[in-house]
Subunit: 256 residues, 2 copies
């Protein structure tokens, strides 16, 4: 399988630019979070559109920590997080988007997917559960699905948390040695770590096929947690400012 050079993850930096300083970024992140609180309130009150944040990344890329850092201050009534783990028997007895579609955001909501439908063209391929033809069909289904959501008023932000192979290895080692992180460790982590190149190839294929200008991936340098949170939060703020949600005029109006 060939991927265009543009999607060579080895050439994408996994670290913050050198001229960016941690203290400044963390100060800016606090400001952004305050803005997000207000923007979320307006989105919820407007009750006409929604936001879907898709978080993907290899094991130990820091999805859980990111969710905590970015979304903690926001009113949980308007933010929902769902993690997609190994599918249940009932989920497996439906098409791969069935369990995903159930969790898409209704009007006014910010929905975060901790892993997503993209796992069905990632882990399933690395583990040889589906072949390239099925992957191709799923790419098309995903593109149509995301278009459907967008047409119904959902802004989709797809983040790939990019960690280097070396950084991932260090984090997985830490899980073994740090008592506060051991609960995250399971025996399969070591196997997965050694699959970094395989996952890299499958991610590159996703970027080649499910990356229309209308719904692009955002590659987030993620070796440093402070920078990663800043990039995601500022991208979300930017998207919400573009949406510019408005408090409704009359309380008696119902959403269309």
């Amino acid at each position: 399988m060939k991927t265009p050079a543009a999607y060579n993850l080895l050439k994408v930096s996994s670290r913050a630019p050198h001229n960016v300083h941690k203290e400044e970024v963390e100060r800016e992140l606090r400001r952004i979070r305050q803005d997000l609180v207000e923007l979320q309130e307006r989105l919820y009150a407007e009750n006409r559109r929604s936001v879907l944040v898709v978080l993907q990344g290899m094991d130990a890329s820091g999805k859980d920590g990111l969710i905590r850092r970015v979304f903690s201050g926001i009113n949980p009534q308007g933010v929902r997080v769902d993690a997609f783990k190994e599918p249940t028997d009932e989920e497996l007895s439906h098409d791969f988007l069935w369990r995903i579609h159930r969790k898409t955001p209704g009007h006014g909501m910010i929905q975060v997917f901790n892993r997503s439908h993209y796992e069905d063209v990632l882990v399933t391929r690395v583990d040889n559960i589906i072949d390239d033809e099925e992957a191709q069909r799923r790419f098309e289904a995903i593109n149509a699905f995301e278009t459907l959501l967008q047409q119904a008023g959902t802004t989709i932000l797809k983040f790939y948390l990019h960690v280097s192979e070396k950084e991932q290895r260090e984090r997985l080692d830490e899980r073994i040695n740090d008592p506060s992180k051991q609960w995250k460790y399971d025996a399969s982590d070591q196997g997965k770590a050694s699959q970094w190149p395989q996952y890299r190839a499958m991610y590159e294929d996703v970027f080649a096929h499910c990356n229309p200008p209308t719904c692009p991936w955002i590659l987030v340098p993620s070796d440093q947690n402070w920078y990663k949170a800043y990039v995601v939060a500022s991208t979300l703020r930017h998207a919400l400012l573009e949406m510019n949600p408005q408090y409704p005029k009359a309380k008696t109006e119902r959403p269309k």
Copy 2:
């Protein structure tokens, strides 16, 4: 809006062919229902594929009666019927396929949709809730959605219960006069009946856009209830025979 002549419903008979006799057909229907009982059992036991029966038709085309006639004898554990009525606020706050996707069949199931996602390109257009551009986007979303289901092992049978304008008018009048049918009558029925031509045009447009050879509409002459039930039941039997579901060899195997 133009539709190809092939989809001119005025040229499609709404009555059984003359050489078909009610008594014979009803005898045959009983046989078919016995076959369906066994085929459903095998589908359920196999637990690898599913069937989706989509029932569409104008008001008073007899969808409820058809469901009773065709599916009554079958084990209800393997058959589920869902009716899609006016969407709730929560449903309206998602894309139009959200509530539909939740109800698609899992492996082993026969799912009947009494009305369906097609209402979102029918009543919504007759009532001018969506414009032609939105309808076009929805046609494409529907085609992608049905392809997704088929690729996951669902056989889709889409039936249009075709009643003539005259027959519909008589049935709606009967609802007013027959005490056992008055509960079905509501004041909007009279308005809808006069919209037969508008619905006809919108159905013809559906047949022009959401009718791929891989997922065709079956137009069912439906002025006579006995014939309509026979056509739907025999089409379902034919589809299940083609699928040829098998009892699994070992009970310990899990579905993939």
